[in-house]
Amino acid sequence: MAAVLIVGAALAGCGGGDSGTKGVLRVAYFAASGAETMDPYDGNRFWPTINMVFDRLIGVDKDFTPIPELATTWEPNADLTEWTITLRDEVTFHDGSTFDSADAVYSIDRMIDPEFDSPVRAVLGIITKAEAIDPLTVKLTLASGEADLPVLLADYRALMTPEGSQDTVGTNPIGTGPFKMEKLDAQGTTVLVANEQYFFGAPKVARIEMPNIADAAAATQALSAGQVDLMLTIDAKSEALFGDSSKFTVQRITSGDWNAIDFRVDQKPYDDPKVRKALRIAADRQALTDLVLGPGGGVPACDTPVWSGDPYRWDGDCPQDIEGAKQLLAEAGYPDGIDIEIFTSDVEEHMVELVEAYQEQVKAAGIRVTLTMTDASAYWDNVWMLEPAFVDSWGQRPAAQVLNEVFRSTATWNPTGLADPELDAMLDDARSTLDAAQRTEKYRAVQEYLFENTASFVPYHKTLVRAMSANVKGLEPVVIDAVRWEKIEVG
């Protein structure tokens, strides 16, 4: 199959299919679930379409530095618990109504509403109150000081919707963004048209069409044959199909998506920090990354969830240490090695390969791993966070979010159950430090501390591969949070 496809792609490159109509960008939407809604705060949000229709208060540039979007300035008080945000003037929604502080307060209230329980609440739940001071000023009050509130507000789902739109936004989205919804059909073809009044300037394409393609190989076929112009992610192993052809552009984007093997600290033998560390240092992370993700497919990590593009990333050194692992196991009462069972599933790609590669690597340290496959449909309900050891998967999150959402003692989704008051205190201290250099140092110390104590084995962050027809211009090789849809051209 792969060989056939490679020949096909190469030949397409030699003068095959027609590559796109001028002015229309066709983006493959992968595997619609059928439950898509345009409500950006809903768990079944229709991504990335929500980012074409709506704007955030604050965006991010390539380096993940906050940049103005619907807000023009943001200022904290001295202890970082109150933020005053100035909104952009004369912005209108697609229906002609004006965007103002009432819409911003309404949107934030929905994001943090405990009853609605939006996934965005995990990011912005630190906000306790949003108030409109005047039509262009909003004051946000936080539960505790947070220096990185602007980065958290740049979450791709923290979008501004019109006041009172809760019941209609899902099917009839009215935003301020570069594109207006013309036909919403996630399982078929969704059509968006340019918002000529967009405050960052009119988009460079007249329309975006998003056909749903259920299967990755079928989407690859569609791109090869010129039926779509852009695939936001392709399987790294399909990169060769497009890499050598002058008809296609391939971008490799370092991202913050990561896998982990998590060990429950409330279950034996993982209650012993020595066992946990032995299990983590017995692996060769670079080799594991190359094996699981393909050469160049990821950036190794020393059990930090903070990705390499984040300014707070700690780049520790954690080579494979078989002897050290053996010694730790002996000290913990396992001089003859240890038998462990790791649960996994093909619910997402790489989750099975990770355990297979790990299993081979740690044999030398006397760690005998049994891989247990479980049903994909029920993995997150019946296995994740419940079995003693299991594979985990997370999307990219900024340091301030991921450390609090996944590693803090009180986090709802703390998968290992590790409750460490010292870690919590370090996180509190870091997030409420005003000085950027000091804050960076503190966040790095948190990650170094994690490497010594954590129960999550985090071997890598993934590199995403994006493929497009060569006539697509203006799409920077950046993670989706920083993509400017209005700047993309086809021609």
Binding site: M1, V4, L5, V7, G8, L11, A12, G16, G17, D18, R26, S33, G34, A35, G43, N44, D117, P119, A122, D185, Q187, G188, T189, P211, N212, I213, A214, D215, A217, A218, A219, Q221, A222, S224, A225, G226, Q227, V228, D375, A376, S377, A378, W380, D381, N382, W384, T412, W413
Partner: protein, 318 residues
Amino acid sequence: MTGYVLRRAALSVGVFVVMAVLTYLGVAALPGDACTALLGRFATTEKLAQCRADNGLDAPVLQQLGDWVAGLLRGDLGYSVKRGAPVGELMAPRIRNAMLLAGVASLLAFPAAIAVGLATGRREQSKVSRTVDTAALVAMTLPEFVTASVLWLVLSVWLPILPAVTVVSSDDSIIDLLPNVWLPAITLAVLVFAHVMRSMRASVSATSRRPFADAARLRGVAEATVVRRHILPAALPPTVNVVAVTAAWLLTGTFVVEVVFNYPGLGRLAVDAIADRDTDLIVALTLLGLAVYITASFLADAVIRLLDPRVRAGVGRS
């Protein structure tokens, strides 16, 4: 004949009831339910409970089944929790698309398969006949996605005359859908042609050697008449059964081809429905599949009765 139809109908109703109950219980036995599929990984216990209460999933399985049957009697096929739409509404365009695909594939495959099977079956040992048979064997052995990839390469990359995958919505007009049906239909037709042709070939070959065919020839009956009057009526019935089962499969079992070409038929809907624990949709699709197979086999029997006087007279029954 009437008695026969009534007996078959009664049996079919029994099979329907048993299948509905088994499917309902089967889905209930799977881990997870429609609400876990809808709300996903980060669903809280409260939200799950609310979703289950809203959709009646907290009731005992047999009560849910009873409610569904009561709805069915009113013409209501139920509701898809994941897709937030009535099952009938979701299935209607897919049934149309499946019929289009199966129809085009059938037209491409069946007449040609029967003609070629007849021609090659009569001269089984000829070079042409053996070559055709080998080619059919290869076509049957190749997995569908391989055939599909080769056709895609030739017809939408080398000579780009057909769209590679379907990029129109499932409920778009037949006119919009039609260009997209060819690649999946040809892929299926290759496979179906091979099956039906080989069945026909074997059947004709066996019949040609039967004493009644030789007797007719010895009586001086022209070969064309021997074929029409003696060989065809005896050779067709087994092939009619193959055609019926294959046609039913074309309507309901074309998942692989649908995925490869992104064609919005019934197969993909069924597989997604199982992953989504969409019980009402799964049961409705199962019963639809059953109805298709029962109808196909009934039609095949009726055709065989018309073709074969022995069956009509009950001679064949022993």
